[in-house]
Structures are given as C-alpha cells and as structure tokens.
C-alpha cells in the first residue's frame, strides 16, 4: 500500500513540482494551499508524513500551527518543515515542536524524496524498537541509534531533528577526531550551507544536551576548521 503524503505549500509552481516529483517515487500525494484546507483535510484522514511550508499566504506562522494540530492528533507523525531562512531553524527549536526535520529552500527534489523515504523507514524502525530489538551504539555516556534516529545522554532521550542527528552521527563516528565544516555540510544534505548554518545547528545540539546535563561539554570548536567530539 502506497504511503500517503501531504504537502502544504502556497506557491502553485513549487507545489506542483513537489507533487510531480514525489508521485513519481510511488507515493500517494495530497496538496493543500492554505491552513484551512489542510486542517479540514486532516479531519477526514491523517497522512503518514507531512511536508509543511511555514509561511502560507499572509499567515506567517501557519506551518507551525498545522504542525501543532497534526501532532495533537498523532504525536509520532513525521513532519518536515520547508524553511527560507536559517533563523527559522532556531524558531522551530524554540517552539519545541516535534518536527522531524527541516529543509532550507532552495531544496533538491532528489534529496526531498530520499528524506521522505528515510523518515518513513525511521518511523517504522521506531515502532519496532519499542518491541525490543535495538541497534543502538554507545559513545561514552551517549547512546545513538542510527536506524531509529534516537539519541540519549546518560539514559535520557534527546529529541534531535534529522539534520542535527546526521551531524552528530558524523561528529561521533571517530570520537576525538576533528570534523571539518565541509564534512558537516555534507551531513546536512542540503545544497547551500555556510559555516554559519553549521554553527547554528551545533549550538542547537549543544543546547539540547545542556538542557539535560548542564555540565555537558563534549562538543568542542576547532576554530577555522570545524568541530570535535571530546569524551573528556
């Protein structure tokens, strides 16, 4: 059975491009152009995954509100935000919406499709990990499960977005080794990334750890190069 995917995007050209690309990958796609349509659509049926633009017409925060509504109906539903500015990443973190990932525009359609399949797979994997089997790997006090995209620090789960998770996974592949900005940029799997974007993501990851453990200082800056995970 084909997975159902909902896209909420107000620009018709971009919307039809997304619909065409995702449909080609074999998904069943429904597209809405504003908040009211989307919400009434969710009344009828919930999708398996939602892709939300944040700004819809005049409503600056419409994406966030749709997300809130969706998560109130199904807490584990994968949600991808399409953002236009890096400071919106901060906003998404700040709102603590259970968003799974965010993609800065302009986006690569191939990458979008890959992200969709990956998130759906992870969603399934998480359902299974509840039933016992775990692929988690321990790095010092941190447990990281690549399959289910789950991270915990000192046995307390940390909710990271997809991008943050991939960057963290890159960082801890060889603990103690510096990881360059370029490598981290690849990990974001986005087309246009500056050092600033990496710094923003890293800061958010650090904050999420520090919320649980104020003493956390494993992520070190390698000025002029990148970052390093130091267990000490």
């Amino acid at each position: 059975m084909a997975k159902r995917i909902v896209i909420v995007e107000d620009d018709p050209d971009q919307r039809s491009n997304y619909v065409d690309a995702i449909t080609k990958k074999g998904y069943e796609v429904t597209a809405y152009s504003n908040r009211q349509e989307a919400l009434s659509g969710f009344e009828r049926e919930l999708p398996d995954l939602a892709i939300l633009d944040i700004i819809l017409g005049d409503e600056v925060d419409a994406g966030f509100e749709i997300c809130r509504d969706l998560l109130s109906r199904s807490a584990s539903l994968p949600v991808i935000f399409l953002t236009e500015r890096i400071d919106e990443i901060d906003k998404i973190s700040g709102l603590r919406l259970g968003a799974w990932d965010y993609l800065p525009k302009p986006i690569s359609l191939d990458y979008l499709a890959e992200r969709i399949s990956s998130l759906l797979r992870i969603h399934e994997a998480r359902g299974q990990s509840h039933q016992g089997s775990s692929t988690a790997k321990m790095v010092g006090d941190m447990s990281i499960d690549q399959e289910a995209l789950l991270v915990s620090w000192k046995n307390q789960p940390i909710n990271l977005s997809g991008t943050e998770f991939r960057m963290l996974a890159k960082l801890v592949r060889v603990p103690g080794h510096a990881v360059s900005y370029d490598t981290l940029m690849n990990a974001t799997m986005q087309s246009l990334v500056t050092n600033n974007t990496i710094n923003t993501h890293m800061r958010n990851i650090r904050k999420k750890f520090e919320n649980i453990d104020p003493q956390f200082n494993c992520i070190k800056s390698e000025y002029g190069f990148g970052y390093r995970w130091s267990a000490k």
Binding site: R85, P106, L192, T194, N195, S221, Y223, G224, F225
Partner: protein, 722 residues
C-alpha cells in the same frame, strides 16, 4: 497630517523669569541684612549713649550740693530761666545779639483787656540771659502811648517804668525801678515799698539799661550783676504802664507773676553754673546732654542734636545723570518710608517715660521719632546721692548717621540691583536669543537631512558640531547618528544594484543553458546544459545566502551568547587550521603567549578571523607571509592581521569597513565580492564593544588591520590585585 504641539513658554522667557526672581531675592536679603545691621548700630548707639549718661552721672553722683543753689520747691511761681549766653550782650535796646536765646522768650499779660484785673492789656515779652556773672534781660513791651518821666517830679511811679524785686545780699527784700526820661540810657533807683520815691538820691548805676521805641511800644535792655542778687539769685519783674501825661495815673501793672497779692513778682531761676561747667566739657557734636533734678527741672544743658542740613548734591554737567540719581535716591527713600513707618512711635511721652524711669532709679533708653527732629535715641541715667536719686542725666542723639548709612546702603543695593538687572536681562536676552537661534538652526538642519520621502540627503550636520556645550554634543550625536543611518541606508540602497550585478551573470548562464536545452535533441548535449544551469542556480543561491547573512548579521548577533574564553588559544588553534586549509600562504603568529581572557562569542570571533584571513589572502601574493598578532594593554586586546600586497588608497582607509565598499580593482578570480567581509569584521567587533582600523604599512608593501576588543573585566581586576 497636522500635529498639534503644546507650545509652552519659550526658553528665553523661562530663563528671564528665573533670573529676575534671583535678582529680586538678592536685594531683599541685602535689605534684611542692612536692617539687622541698623538694629545693631542703633542698639550700639543707645548703649553708648547710656554709658555716656552713666559716665556723666558718675561725675555728679554724691553731689547733692550742686542742686542746692535753688529753692527746692518753687511751686506757684513762674519759673524764669536765665539762659547761658556765649557772648556778652551790648546794652543798646536792640534784640540782634539775643538770637541764640530769643526763642525762649516768655510772654506775659493777656491779649484781651481784663476789667477786674490790675494787669491790663500791657503785654510784654521777656528774655533772660546770663553771661560772666551778669544777668541780662530784654523786655519788649506793647504800649500804645509812651509816657516818659518828668525830671521835675520826684515820684518815680508817674511814668512808664519797670519794677524789679529781689532778695539782696543780706536777705532783705529790695525794690528797684528802671525809668527813662527819653529813649536811650535808663536810670535805676532803689525805691521804698510803695514804689514811689527813691531811697537814696543817687541812681543805682550797677543796673545799666537802654530803651528804644518800637512800632507798637518800646524795648528795654538791661543787666544786673549777679552779685547784687544775693545767694538766692532770683527776682521778680513787672512792667508798669502810664498812659496820660495829664493825670499820670498807673494804667496797669503787668508782672511776671499774675497774682497781684504777692510781694515777689516771680522768680528767675538761674541754671546751675557748676553743673553746667562739669558737663560743658563732655558735650559732643550731635548730642544733647541735660541734667535734670528730681523736680524734673533742667539744671544744665549742652549741645544740640538737631538734624544737620543734608549736603547738597554736587552739581554735575549732565542733567540726565542728576535726574537718574535723584530718581535712584527716591527709590530707597520710598522703600524706607514704606517699610519703616510701622516702627515709628510719634508720641511725645517717650522722653517723659524715659525720665520717669530714670528718676525712679532705673537707667533706660528709647527710640523716639518726631517729624521735625527725625529719629532720636533718648538715654537717661540716674544721679545717685546718699542712696537717693537726686536727678538724671539725659542724653539725646539722633540716629542721622545710622539712617544716612542705611539710606546709602539701601541706595547702593537698589542701584546695584537695578543696574545688574538691566545688565543681566540684556545678557540673558542675548544668551537666550543666541541659544534659541542655535537650537532652531540645528533643528532646521536636522529636519532638512531627510526629505519628505524619508530619504537621507546627507550623512552629517555642519552647524554646531564644533561647539563645546550640550548643543554641540547634540549636534555631534545627531551627526554620528546620521552617519550610521547613512551607512546602513547605503548598504540597503546598494544591495539591489550589487545583486543585479552579481546575479545577472549566473542568471545569464541559467537562461542561455535553458534556451540551449530547448533546442538540444541529443541526450549528452542536454546533460551538458543541465549541468551549467545547475551551476548557475547554485551560484545565485550562494549570493542570496551571503547577502542574507550580512543583512541579518546585527539581528543574529543580538541573540548571541557571550562566554569568557582564551582568545589567544582560539587564535593559535585557528591559525593551526589555516596552515592546513590554505597551503599557499605562510601564517605567522607574533605577540603574547599568555592567556588572554575576553567575554566573546567564539563563533563570531571565528567568523571575524575568517573574514580577516580571507581579506589578507585576497590581497597577497601566493606563498607570501600573513602575520597574525595579538597584544594586550590594561583594558583591551589588539588583534592584527598584516599581509604584504597592494596598499589601500588613503582616502578609503576610513570607509573600508563600510558595507559594499571594496578596494578591489577587478573581479578577476570570479569569486564573490560584495565588500561585506570587513563590514562583518566591524559589526562583530563593535558588537563586542571593540573598534577596528586599517593602516598601510610604513614601508609601503602591505596593509595591517587591527581589531581592538575589551578584555574580560574580572581578569583585569584580578591582575590589578596581584
């Protein structure tokens, strides 16, 4: 849209009112001070007077004998005083040498004829004087018809004559008649008790007199030696009028004592000469000293305290000055009258009460005001003898000198206040006019810097920026505000232009690739154009990303969290990474090796170094050396990056840190150059409370860019305490 603005009092008005308040208060305080001063002086004078009175009374203390020369209770007698004269009187019947005592003349006889009385309408005036043991008398008699003595008649009472009664040397009563046969020298005879015949045939030539006719009668001047009068030194006097040469009957007898039944016609009291001698030497100018006995008779008096005539103001050539000074003089006088009127005690009882107090044995003084004499101070001190008050010394002095002092002082204050009021008013007016004009000018210029569409027309103010006061500060503040605004505006204005310039190339790549793609049929050709189109898109994306970063840099910085880190370690680590990432340059570190603590955002310092190194690489040759250094002083750390290469034109050194300003001549390497790099450096440095500056190397082969950042304060404090 019109805006209603509350328009209160203008600056000039406010200043003026405040100042004039001060100018009113100052003279008022001066006046109060003057008043205190005057009170003090008056008190001082009163005390001095009392002391003087005490001193004089001390001289007279225990000398009751001084007052014994008079019968102590001359009740019922008219008291006639012989006033002390300073010069002898010429016996010539004229009153011209009597001037100093003429005012004391006493009138006898009533104006209206009285049927029942023996005293007729024959009125006369009497003045007595005493000099050099002679008693002088001037009698002016009103007489409608003069009857002279007939030499052939022996009786002496048949013509107009003057009768004198006195107690002689041996205590016997003696009668004396002064008669005249014609105007001129008079003759005196000792007569019997009936006043008819002379006792001896010869005249009493020790009594000399002279008679003159006057308009309404006659005047007689005569003198009697004191020796003749005996010890009691008093005498009575009567004027006898005879009007008819036929009957020669006595028409009327007018005596110094109105009662006809008494032998003595009246008593002439002489002032105590010894007391007078004592106090004469003590008299001083402007003071009046009286010695009064227990019967409240004046026994001696020296000096006068009358107000001295005020000096005439010196004549000056300019009349307006006179008018003004007269007007000025009037102001304090008016003030004086206004304020002082309440203080005045015009009752005549003051002197009485002082004397009464003093005679009761209590020294006292009082201020007393009369219209004629002005303000006087009366002080009295009792004279004691054998525990009894036998008299008092009364000292009167007017306060002219103090009043003069006060009036002068008040005048000076008023003059000074008026003049300073004018001067200050003029100064304040000038000052406020200048002030408001400056403010208005500044306001007009500040308003004029922005046109009605909100566009900045200039990046600085010209007026007032060199002034040293608050307006200068304001002008400079506005000017620097304008400069920053202008810079930001320029960034925004340049953005589209730069964007168009930078985006046009990749856009052109994209558009030509798409056109080729449309007409291309082979799969490999399509792939080629797709690739170039993708590159164009990526380039546009990077441009937008960079611009967005720069534009939102200040916003992003505001959310940045600062922490205290070792900047030296950061720089060292950064340079280590630079050496691997930029193999074609040599990086050298110079400067401190110590820990350099500063409160910064490490990402941003890293970004700052990125831009500085990028800039240094762009302007230096391959394999050249880039020197990065750090020095510290008490409060700041200085980070500098030096590269060898082309110089920055001198006129650009100041604005090289502005956005969209680039010293690059051409864009040969096809990299992105928005002139944003050093702008980012400046924004980050300023956000950390630091400054930036650029300079060409002195040897002319490179450029150094300095960033000054504040050191961590607690570290400074700790260093200082070591």
């Amino acid at each position: 849209m019109t805006m209603t603005v509350f328009r209160g009092p203008r600056l000039a008005t406010k200043l003026f009112f405040l100042m004039s308040l001060a100018l009113v208060v100052i003279p008022w305080f001066s006046y109060l001070y003057l008043k205190e001063m005057e009170g003090f002086l008056v008190d001082g004078q009163a005390n001095a007077q009392l002391l003087t009175a005490e001193g004089i009374s001390t001289l007279l203390n225990g000398r009751p004998d001084l007052f014994y020369e008079l019968p102590l209770s001359p009740e019922g007698y008219e008291q006639l005083y012989a006033h002390p004269l300073t010069t002898p009187i010429r016996i010539d019947g004229k009153n011209n040498d009597w001037e100093e005592v003429l005012d004391y003349n006493v009138s006898f006889g009533s104006q209206e004829p009285d049927e029942t009385s023996t005293t007729g309408p024959n009125q006369f005036y009497l003045v007595l004087g005493e000099h050099n043991d002679q008693v002088y008398a001037l009698i002016q008699v009103k007489d409608d018809k003069l009857v002279f003595r007939d030499r052939n008649i022996l009786r002496l009472d048949l013509s107009d004559h003057i009768r004198i009664t006195f107690t002689g040397q041996n205590g016997e009563i003696r009668n004396l008649v002064i008669t005249m046969t014609e105007p001129g020298v008079t003759t005196a005879y000792n007569v019997d008790n009936d006043w008819r015949y002379a006792i001896q045939g010869i005249a009493e030539n020790r009594v000399q007199g002279f008679m003159t006719e006057t308009v309404d009668g006659y005047a007689v001047e005569f003198r009697i030696p004191l020796a003749l009068l005996g010890s009691t030194k008093h005498f009575g006097l009567a004027v006898v009028d005879v009007d008819s040469t036929e009957t020669r009957a006595i028409q009327s007898i007018t005596g110094t004592l109105p009662s006809a039944g008494r032998e003595a016609f009246g008593l002439v009291l002489l002032k105590s000469p010894e007391v007078l001698r004592i106090i004469e030497g003590l008299g001083y100018s402007g003071a009046n000293i009286q010695v009064i006995d227990a019967q409240r008779r004046v026994r001696a008096e020296v000096g006068s305290y009358g107000a001295q005539p005020t000096q005439e103001s010196k004549p000056t050539s300019s009349t307006w000055y006179l008018k003004i000074s007269a007007a000025m003089r009037r102001i304090p006088d008016a003030l004086y009258r206004l304020i002082d009127v309440g203080l005045r005690d015009e009752s005549d009882t003051a002197e009485d009460s002082v004397i009464r107090e003093s005679l009761a044995g209590r020294p006292s003084f009082q201020r007393h005001y009369t219209q004629a004499e002005g303000e006087t101070i009366i002080a009295a001190y009792p004279i004691i003898a054998q525990d009894k008050t036998i008299g008092t010394v009364v000292l009167k002095q007017n306060t002219d000198r103090i009043l003069e002092l006060r009036r002068d002082g008040l005048g000076r204050i008023v003059n000074f206040s008026v003049i300073s009021l004018f001067i200050f008013a003029a100064l304040i007016l000038a000052f406020s006019v200048r002030l408001t004009r400056r403010i208005r000018k500044l306001g007009a210029e500040a308003t004029g810097t922005i046109d009605k569409y909100g566009r900045l027309k200039t990046n600085q103010l010209r007026s007032e920026t060199s002034a040293g006061d608050e307006i200068g500060d304001l002008a400079r503040g506005i000017s620097s505000m304008l400069a920053r605004l202008h810079q930001h505006n320029q960034f925004l204005e340049n953005m589209p232009r730069t964007l168009r310039h930078e985006i046009n190339n990749p856009l052109n790549t994209l558009s030509t690739s798409l056109q080729n793609l449309e007409s291309e049929t082979t799969e490999s050709g399509k792939q080629k154009y797709l690739e170039s189109a993708k590159r164009g898109v990526h380039r546009i994306g990077m441009i937008v990303q960079n611009l967005a970063d720069a534009a939102s840099l200040e916003d992003a910085l505001a959310t940045e969290e600062f922490e205290v880190i070792d900047v030296h370690q950061l720089v060292e680590s950064y340079l280590g990474n630079c050496r691997t990432s930029h193999q074609n340059r040599i990086f050298e570190y110079r400067g401190t090796q110590r820990e350099v603590l500063s409160e910064v955002s490490d990402y941003r310092i890293e970004q700052l170094l990125d831009k500085l190194i990028d800039n240094a690489i762009d302007f230096s040759a391959v394999d050249s050396t880039i020197t990065v250094g750090m020095t510290t002083d008490a409060t700041t750390l200085t980070l500098f990056v030096t590269n060898h290469g082309p110089l920055v034109p001198t006129n650009m050194l100041d604005n090289i840190f502005d956005s969209m300003v680039s010293a690059r001549g051409s864009n040969s390497d096809n990299r992105l150059h928005f002139g944003i790099g050093l702008y980012v450096v400046r924004i980050i440095a300023e956000h950390h409370g630091g400054t930036v500056n650029a300079a060409n190397l002195l040897n002319g082969d490179g450029v150094t860019i300095q960033v000054n950042l504040p050191l961590y304060k607690r570290a400074i404090a700790a260093d200082a305490s070591l």
